[in-house]
């Protein structure tokens, strides 16, 4: 069985994603070098840049996704709100679940505690992906769901679908 990073790349390719906009972090650390290799990869310095980039790519007819830490929702909240509430522009966000059960770093707990209230407040539809065999089909469905409903969709990778915390 492939690892989570290989399966995310496989899922993105099968879903015909061409552009990935990202701010890398540690819980999907095996993924980022592969994204650079396989996709038109746009790296930002602040998650607030990401929603606009994928919105622009959508208008250009290219499938694009955001990959960032779940704490990035807090930085990206205003652009997401403007683009989705103001214009109903669809977007797909892929995030690891930093702060999930067994989190070993103290500062990561707040990432999880704020994540669901932020997703709800921003009216982002979200699903948790915890098993490796769920990764590939979830990505295609997320892109389909976002376009059909003209909404933002988040996939939150936990369990075996991201790096395992050292002491878990």
């Amino acid at each position: 069985m492939s690892n989570y990073a290989e399966l995310i790349v496989q899922g993105l390719k099968q879903a015909k994603v061409e552009i990935v906009a990202s701010l890398p972090e540690s819980m999907l650390k095996q993924l980022y070098p592969m994204l650079r290799k396989h996709f038109r990869y746009i790296q930002v310095s602040n998650e607030a840049d990401l929603p606009g980039i994928v919105a622009g790519a959508y208008f250009g007819g290219k499938r694009a996704v955001i990959v960032m830490e779940n704490s990035g929702l807090r930085q990206a909240a205003e652009p997401i709100a403007r683009l989705t509430f103001g214009h109903r522009i669809p977007m797909v966000l892929l995030m690891p679940h930093r702060g999930d059960l067994g989190e070993d770093v103290w500062w990561g707990h707040g990432h999880s505690e704020t994540m669901v209230p932020m997703l709800d407040a921003l009216r982002i539809r979200y699903w948790f992906v915890y098993r490796l065999d769920e990764i590939v089909p979830s990505i295609e469905k997320a892109l389909l769901h976002a376009d059909a409903g003209q909404v933002a969709v988040a996939l939150i990778f936990g369990g075996e679908c991201r790096e395992v915390p050292k002491h878990a």
Partner: protein, 206 residues
């Protein structure tokens, strides 16, 4: 230099087949009335911090298409980190034109940071952007705009415009679309222009 004159000078240099992303504020009515062909070639956004990022995504998605972001000082200041992304990507088909009137016009003219020590062209240059210019008169604007639109390189022009000099548009000339209608109009225009399907609508039995 009045903003409406700069907008009209820009409109003379572009075509209906170019694509634009336009910032919030008084600029919207100026461009709505000046955009080439009067067609839906412009993505009007409400977010002050989403304009250049959206133009970047569009330019990367359509590398053969000329894309111009119509920015404001307030919007660029709110999304300063985007300058670093632009500076490292520099899509050759993307130009950024910042209409810098140094004030928050729609709230009565309180100063932005560019009325103090902040220089947007220097910020862009320091972030890695190429062809960064500040212009203060129409002839210089037209010369630099023509260059960045035709040289096949990324460009960033800051047009310093007069404060408290917004053009007053009569009601029937003001933009009358909301954000959702604007999205669909722009999306369908790009579909027609590029001969592609962006938004797939599925009906039962279809």
């Amino acid at each position: 230099m009045h903003r409406i004159d700069v907008v009209r000078a820009l409109a003379e240099l572009v075509t209906p087949e170019d694509l634009f992303v336009c910032a919030h504020g008084g600029l919207r009515n100026d461009w709505w009335n000046s955009r080439p062909g009067g067609v839906d070639n412009t993505c009007f956004l409400t977010g002050m911090n989403t304009v250049s990022a959206t133009a970047l995504g569009l330019a990367v998605a359509l590398p053969h298409r000329r894309v111009t972001a119509l920015e404001t000082d307030g919007s660029v200041l709110m999304s300063a980190s985007t300058l670093c992304t632009l500076g490292n990507e520099r899509p050759p088909n993307l130009s950024i034109v910042v209409f810098d009137n140094t004030v928050y016009e729609s709230i009565g003219g309180l100063p932005t940071a560019t009325s103090g020590r902040t220089d947007l062209a220097k910020m862009a240059e320091g972030a890695g952007c190429s062809n960064c210019f500040t212009v203060t008169d129409l002839d210089t604007f037209a010369r630099h705009a023509k260059k960045v639109l035709t040289d096949g390189e990324f460009g960033f022009i800051v047009a310093k415009t007069a404060k408290a000099a917004a053009h007053r548009w009569p009601k029937d000339k003001q933009k009358h679309t909301d954000g959702v209608e604007e999205k669909y109009r722009f999306l369908r225009y790009v579909e027609q222009l590029e001969k592609i399907r962006i938004h797939h609508v599925v009906e039962i039995g279809g």
